[in-house]
């Protein structure tokens, strides 16, 4: 029997894999030591677990275990990476380049940098959600210390040309950082091959626990340093103080290990399921996929249904847990700034649904979702005066609407 509502909001967070929980359990109970306690076996056991996690993570992203800085999650990692570079490299320059479709953890941190006197360039994206490499190169100045562009977008799944971006940044002597929150554990991310100097990511988007993440900080070619943003005991090579969240870190390590083992199989299964969902929903007239379909995370699709209002649509698909309009600010009625950056009108941005599949999504759930969304859209269109006008061939842009 299908359990409702069906969870298809896995870009917001994923369920904890039972195998991750199992790995964490001892560290929530018997093995409770502080990883910084050097004088007794309680501390040693905790430190050993943390070091093992570093190795598991390092294997997944092809780095050295020493290059992993544990944090509370991707937002903290983004803050530490950007603010840390801005402070550490202030002698070299004060200019940072990012994109308009980044997560708020990056955009708001960049706004903060501007208040501190830094200069930030926000690159636009095309209708596919991709930045232009020419515009990136043109934006670089001798003052540019950092280029930070996300790996895969949280709303559309669009994957940026990371390797090319890294090459351009490096050729001008700037560091390259990426917010890998949605990509790590889902697609192959290799910090060496990709040319990544700094990368933020988190456990709870890859079947790990909430409240733990990491910042990858390159140690050679070049050796990168970030100024700590929190003062204290000098943990994590002095870059992030605070007692380590040992059970969380163990969970993140296990989640990375599982991701490595299951990525190929998960990708094949999820992209087939996602493509079926998308294909079926696109049989509805006037429905459009947002973002690149070619360069995209395997488990995500974002679709707009024209002539249907977003809030009404959300009410109509109450048996599905999905996101609409804006992924992280769903409490407000503002249309998604990511979709608007792709050139969507307000109404089309409002009437979008984001589907994020997971390792635990079943074909039966996708069948249900397809029928449920089709029914809701069809019903709302039958009720929509705009749909009727569209069907009669009325040009809606030529109507003088009585604004209220």
């Amino acid at each position: 029997m299908l359990k409702l509502p069906i969870y298809l909001d896995n870009n917001a967070t994923t369920p904890l894999d039972p195998r991750v929980l199992e790995a964490m359990m001892p560290y929530l109970t018997d093995v409770f030591g502080n990883a910084a306690s050097r004088n007794h076996p309680f501390g040693w056991a905790a430190e050993e677990a943390v070091d093992y996690s570093r190795e598991q993570i390092a294997k997944l992203i092809n780095c050295d275990p020493k290059e992993i800085i544990f944090t509370s999650g991707a937002t903290e990692s983004d803050n530490l990476g950007i603010k840390g570079v801005f402070e550490m490299y202030s002698q070299k320059g004060n200019h940072i380049i990012t994109a308009t479709t980044e997560h708020k953890a990056v955009l708001d941190t960049c706004k903060h940098i501007e208040k501190l006197g830094g200069k930030v360039t926000y690159l636009p994206v095309n209708e596919q959600g991709l930045i232009s490499l020419e515009e990136l190169e043109a934006a670089i100045t001798p003052q540019t210390i950092l280029v930070t562009i996300m790996y895969g977008n949280n709303e559309t799944g669009t994957i940026q040309p990371i390797r090319e971006i890294a090459k351009i940044a490096h050729s001008h002597g700037a560091l390259f950082m990426t917010d890998g929150t949605q990509a790590v554990g889902k697609i192959p991310v290799d910090v060496i091959a990709d040319g990544i100097d700094i990368m933020a990511f988190t456990a709870h988007k890859m079947y790990g626990p909430k409240g733990v993440g990491a910042l990858y900080v390159r140690r050679k070619n070049p050796r990168v340093k970030v100024t700590a943003q929190m003062d204290g005991g000098g943990h994590e090579r002095g870059m992030r103080s605070g007692t380590l969240n040992v059970p969380g870190i163990v969970g993140l390590g296990k989640a990375c290990e599982l991701a490595m083992q299951e990525m190929a199989a998960d990708t094949a299964r999820l992209s087939a399921m996602r493509d079926r969902l998308e294909r079926e929903l696109l049989t509805l007239e006037e429905s459009y996929v947002n973002g690149s379909r070619e360069h995209r995370l395997p488990h995500v699709t974002n679709i707009s249904f024209k002539y249907v209002e977003g809030e009404g649509l959300m009410m109509g698909v109450k048996d599905l847990a999905v996101s609409s309009g804006s992924a992280c600010t769903s409490a407000s009625l503002e249309p998604s700034y990511v979709l608007k950056a792709l050139g969507l009108s307000d109404d089309l941005a409002h009437s979008s649904l984001r589907f994020g599949l997971s390792r635990f999504t079943t074909d039966e759930q996708i069948d249900y979702a397809i029928n449920h969304v089709k029914e809701a859209v069809t019903k709302l269109r039958e009720m929509s005066p705009l749909w009727e006008m569209f069907k009669e061939g009325v040009d809606l842009s030529k109507i003088e609407w009585a604004e209220h």
């Binding site: 249907v308 009410m315 609407w401 009585a402």
Partner: protein
């Protein structure tokens, strides 16, 4: 957002969805709102000219659950009322009946505007002056 049971009922089982023949002289049509504001309501009334009574009402709404419910409720209330009685419908009655929260009061205002706009259209078609429509 938590919707009231009455809003959910009107959303799930909307009353009087449809279209009346706007070429008929005794049919008045009101189209209010704007797509970029997230709500468009079209409300139509059919009037028995002999008794000045509304015999039928239909709506179509592009909008949230509260906007759909407000217009659905309006059509229920309009049927059987005289045009003058219909003119007296106040948006706050809709707010109360549907238990709309403050952020959704504009949906009831739009429904009231739609009623007045439909009546005005009917009046103009029948040689009467248009209503002074207050734009909220």
């Amino acid at each position: 957002m938590a919707y009231s049971d009455k809003v959910i009922d009107h959303y799930s089982n909307p009353r009087n969805v449809g279209t009346l023949d706007k070429s008929k002289k005794n049919v008045g049509t009101g189209l209010v709102g704007a797509p970029e504001c997230g709500d468009v309501m079209r409300l139509q009334i059919e009037v028995d000219e002999a008794t000045n009574t509304i015999t039928d009402a239909k709506f179509k709404t592009f909008g949230c659950g509260s906007a759909i419910a407000s217009s659905s409720l309006a059509t229920e209330w309009l049927k059987g009322k005289t045009v003058d009685e219909a003119l007296a419908i106040d948006n706050m009655e809709i707010v109360e009946e549907l238990a709309l929260p403050p952020v959704k009061i504009h949906c009831s205002v739009l429904a009231e505007d739609a009623i007045k706009s439909a009546i005005s259209d009917y009046r103009v078609k029948n040689g009467l002056p248009a209503l002074e429509l207050s734009h909220h």
